[in-house]
Every structure is written in structure tokens, then in C-alpha cells.
């Protein structure tokens, strides 16, 4: 009911692509979750940051990760596209299966994993290049050479990220000239341009003013259904507004996971309740 936002299919390219995704393999889409995490332990050198995490993230829904600072939300998020691999001395135990593939398996191709699992960072980080080049970069490295095809993807991605009308006359300008909120939507457009299935967002609106935050939240509501979205947020109201499912982390452990409404109205764990009521964290 909270998500009665109509997903009007006015952008054919991306929508067909994602609806194909769902219709092609109905058995996997309905029976298995999009991301399945089993007994995940994660270590930065000798310090363990995640303890025995197991959860299933469902396709097409928005899942919020909440919890006090330092509880491992970002760490968990970065295990899903293996961005933690870039940090020296990290290791993990357990498994993460993303649409049927164990992503830490020997055969995993990082390039195709990250093409499938896009990421938006806490601080917007556009490339110091033009708006167009920012969005076109992903498709380019994944093999789209054709100029008009690239232009098409850029337009659709910017439309999808609700930025097109603000920038369509200055696609050649530096992305750094955009406002903070616009830069963040540009980063979302950039992630969408490679046509991912999953979108990871680490506090995407925490550095933005209320209006820009509202735009990002609306955007998430619009992307819901076409993408599986996992979002880290410190803002309880935001988690309540945008997500279907909520996972509450504390000290590297998954304390509670369930429908957002249930978590917020009748949490099963005392810790969750304390946190949501603002009694700690």
C-alpha cells in the first residue's frame, strides 16, 4: 500500500530488459531469492566485522539495512559486489549466491558480477568528465561502441534517474558543475546505464538536503520492481518510507530481518525495539 506508486512503463528499453529478466527464468525468480547469504563471516585482518549472517534478499523489493554506526552495514553491502576485495587483508567465510551464482566461487568473473550488481556511494563520486561521459562510461567498457546507441542509453538512464530534464541541454558540461543532489542522481544514472539487476546504495542521501533526499526517495520508489535494491540508511523514517524489508544489524550480527512494517510496528527483539525507538545507536 505504501508502494502504490505506479510503475508506468514509459521507458521501453530498460523496462523490457528487466521484464525479460523476470519472464525468462520464472522458476528462479519466484522460488529462489535474488541474493542468498549463508553463514557469512567477514574479517578485516584479525578483526571480525560480520558474524554468521544469513538472509535472503528478494528480487524486485527494496531492502533497508539499518543499525548503529560501525555495525557492519557498509561492510555487508560491499560483500555483495565484492568491493571489499579492494581492501588489503580482508577475507570471508560462508557464501553469497546472487541469482544462482556463488559470487566468491572460483569461476566468478568480477566484471560481470559488478555489471549485474551496481553500486551508489554515500558521497557522490562522478568522474571529472562530462555528464554524458559519466553515464556512457559503463556501457562503453562493457562493449557498446555505437555512438547513437550510447546516446540512447545515456538519455534513458538519465530519464530513469530523473535528471534528464535538468541536464539535457548541457550533457557536455563537467559533471562536477552539478549540485550535490544532481551529482548523486547522476551516479544513479551511471549505475543504471549498465543495466544491473541489483542496486546497492550506501546512505545515498545522507549528504543531501531534504529536497534532494526526497527526490532520491521518489526515485527509489520508481525503480522498485525493476531492480532489486539494497539500501543502507541511518534515517528510520527513510527506511520506513522506501523499503519493503528491513534488516537490523548490531555489532556485526543480523539481529532481526522482516517486513519493514512488522519491524517498525512490532519488533521481535528488544534490541531492535530500543534502536527504532531511538534508545541507543
Amino acid at each position: 500500500m505504501r508502494h502504490s506508486v505506479a510503475h508506468n512503463l514509459d521507458i521501453p528499453m530498460i523496462n523490457t530488459a528487466s521484464s525479460n529478466k523476470q519472464s525468462e527464468q520464472p522458476q528462479s525468480q519466484t522460488s529462489t531469492p535474488c541474493i542468498a547469504v549463508r553463514d557469512l563471516n567477514f574479517y578485516y585482518g584479525d578483526t571480525q566485522a560480520l558474524f554468521d549472517i544469513s538472509l535472503d534478499i528478494e528480487a524486485g523489493l527494496v531492502t533497508a539495512l539499518i543499525g548503529p554506526s560501525g555495525c557492519g552495514k557498509s561492510t555487508f553491502l560491499r560483500t555483495i559486489n565484492r568491493m571489499n576485495d579492494l581492501i588489503a587483508g580482508t577475507r570471508h567465510e560462508g557464501e553469497i549466491v546472487v541469482s544462482g551464482h556463488e559470487i566468491y566461487g572460483k569461476k566468478t568473473d568480477l566484471v560481470s558480477l559488478r555489471k549485474k550488481v551496481g553500486m551508489v556511494f554515500q558521497r557522490s563520486n562522478p568522474f571529472p568528465k562530462s555528464i554524458f561521459e559519466n553515464v556512457a562510461y559503463g556501457p562503453k567498457i562493457h562493449g557498446t561502441k555505437n555512438k547513437s546507441r550510447l546516446a540512447e542509453i545515456v538519455e534513458k538512464s538519465l530519464l530513469r534517474a530523473d535528471l534528464w530534464h535538468e541536464v539535457k541541454d548541457r550533457l557536455g558540461d563537467s559533471a562536477l558543475a552539478l549540485s550535490g543532489g544532481q551529482q548523486q542522481r547522476l551516479c544513479i544514472a551511471r549505475a543504471l546505464a549498465v543495466d544491473p539487476e541489483i542496486l546497492l546504495m550506501d546512505e545515498p542521501a545522507s549528504a543531501l538536503d531534504p529536497r534532494s533526499t526526497a527526490k532520491i526517495e521518489n526515485l527509489i520508489a520508481e525503480l522498485r520492481g525493476d531492480y532489486t535494491i539494497v539500501i543502507v540508511t541511518h534515517n528510520m523514517q527513510q527506511a520506513g518510507r522506501v523499503s519493503d524489508k528491513t534488516a537490523f544489524f548490531c555489532d556485526g550480527k543480523l539481529v532481526e530481518y522482516g517486513d519493514t512494517e512488522a519491524i517498525f510496528t512490532k519488533p521481535q527483539q528488544q534490541q531492535t525495539e530500543d534502536y527504532i525507538r531511538g534508545r541507543f545507536g
Binding site: 559486489n81 568491493m83 579492494l86 588489503a88 568480477l110 566484471v111 560481470s112 558480477l113 559488478r114 555489471k115 551496481g118 553500486m119 556511494f121 558521497r123 563520486n125 562522478p126 568522474f127 571529472p128 568528465k129 562510461y137 559503463g138 567498457i141 562493457h142 563537467s174 562536477l176 558543475a177 551516479c187 551511471r190 549505475a191 549498465v194
Partner: protein, 284 residues
Amino acid sequence: MNSAAKSKGEIAFHLLGIAAVSIALLALCALLIDIISSGYSKVSLDFITSYPSRRPANAGIAAALVGSLYLMLLTACFSLPLGVGAAVYLEEYATENKFSKLIELNIANLAGVPSIIYGILGLQLFVRYANLERSLLAGAFTMSLLILPIIIIASREAIRRVPDSIRQAAFALGATRWEMIRDQVIPAAFPGIMTGCILAFSRAIGETAPLITLGALTYIAFLPDGLLSPFGALPIQAFNWISRPQAAFHDNAAGAIIILLTVLLSMNIIAVVLRGRFQKKFAT
């Protein structure tokens, strides 16, 4: 009282700064005035297009100027890819360990080695062992060795200033490490790399000692016609003229120095313009 004392100190420091800058500028001005006053009458198209001669009035710098420019170009061709490549390796690929620390220390030391040592090394390595004779190629290799450390250090600085968030963004889109470096890090670091490199090239074009050691020619009546051709260079020509007894040759030397300074100045202007362009395009 405290603030008065502080501002006194500030004024003193300010004056000290001005004094230091003026001394440097005055010395430079004196040098320039001296050179320009004795050399300006020499500078003409004839001077630039003539070959050396026993008669000071007929002597020119054609061979030396062209030799210097070729030397520069060749040096750039060798040292730029090597230096930037080494910097990229050290910053983006090498893991921090004892070995990389050792390399780092060595590069910093090499930048401080007197240029004549490079001349001796080049003489032994390129002129004798590699049998390149006293050729343009041997000169360019030696110059490349000389400025490699400077280029590596400047490029590393520039690469290090590229924020990590850019690298993360590229990786998160599925870029490989090489794609990330080629498409994001190097373009973002480009103005810094260029500035460092052009400064290094200006150093190379003014260097005399290693070329003397190598045996660059001072009396040369032809332009270099290939990589293995003997060559002259502007600073050597000036050095040679200044050591002649006839006073008229000294004016020739001043003329050659004016041309050399002009080349240097143009290179630095190019560096500044290049950097300005990049920064204007992508300023925040």
C-alpha cells in the same frame, strides 16, 4: 598586546619573504639584462639559420638548436612512457612492502644525483657498450635516465591526488584495474603529469654536463639526419663560445642563451596553458 606582538612577527616575516623574493628576482633580472644587452644584437634569422664558423660574425646556432630540439623530442619519447608507466605501477599495482620502499628510496636518491654522473654512465653504457657512438640516440637515452626520476616522482604525486572515490566508482561499474587506470586515473592526473614532465624536459634542454661527457659536437656544419647522427646542442654551443678568447664569441654565446631561454619559456607557457585548460574544464 599579544596580538600586537603577533602582528609584528607577521610583518617581519612578510618583509623577510619580500626580501627573499626580491633577491631571487634581482639576481635573475641582472642575469637577463646582462645577457640580453650583450646578445640581443646577435639574435636574428641569420643567427638562427647559420652554422658555426671561425668568424664570430658569421657563426650561428642552426645545428645546435635543431640538435637540442631533436634531443628533447627523443628524450620525451623515451622518458614519458617509461616514467609514467613506472609511476602507475608504483601507485596502482605495487603492494607496499620492503621492496617497493627500497625502489621508492632509490628513485628519490637518483633525482639528486649530479647530472655529470649520468653523463659518465651514458658514456659507458650507450656510447661504448651499446656502440651508439656519440649519437643523438645515445644523448637522448642519457637524458632520459637523467629525468626519469623527476618524471616518476611528479607523476606519482599527480596520480596520488586522484581521489580514491573515482577508482571505486570505476570498479563498481565493472571496470578492470587497467580500464580504471586508463580511463579515469591517468586523465584525471594528466595536468599534473604534464606539468611535471615539461619541467623535467626544461631541465634536460638546459643540461650541459652530461652532453659534454658524452661528446656532443660544438663545431658541426650539418643538421642531424638520423638517430645515429652526431649532434650539437644549444647549451654546449654557448659553453664553447664563452670559453673562446675572442670577445665577439661571447656575444654569440649570449645570443644562443637568449634562444635557449625563449625555448624554455615557451615550454613552460605550454605547460601552464595545458594545465589551465584541464582545470577550467573540470573545476568544481
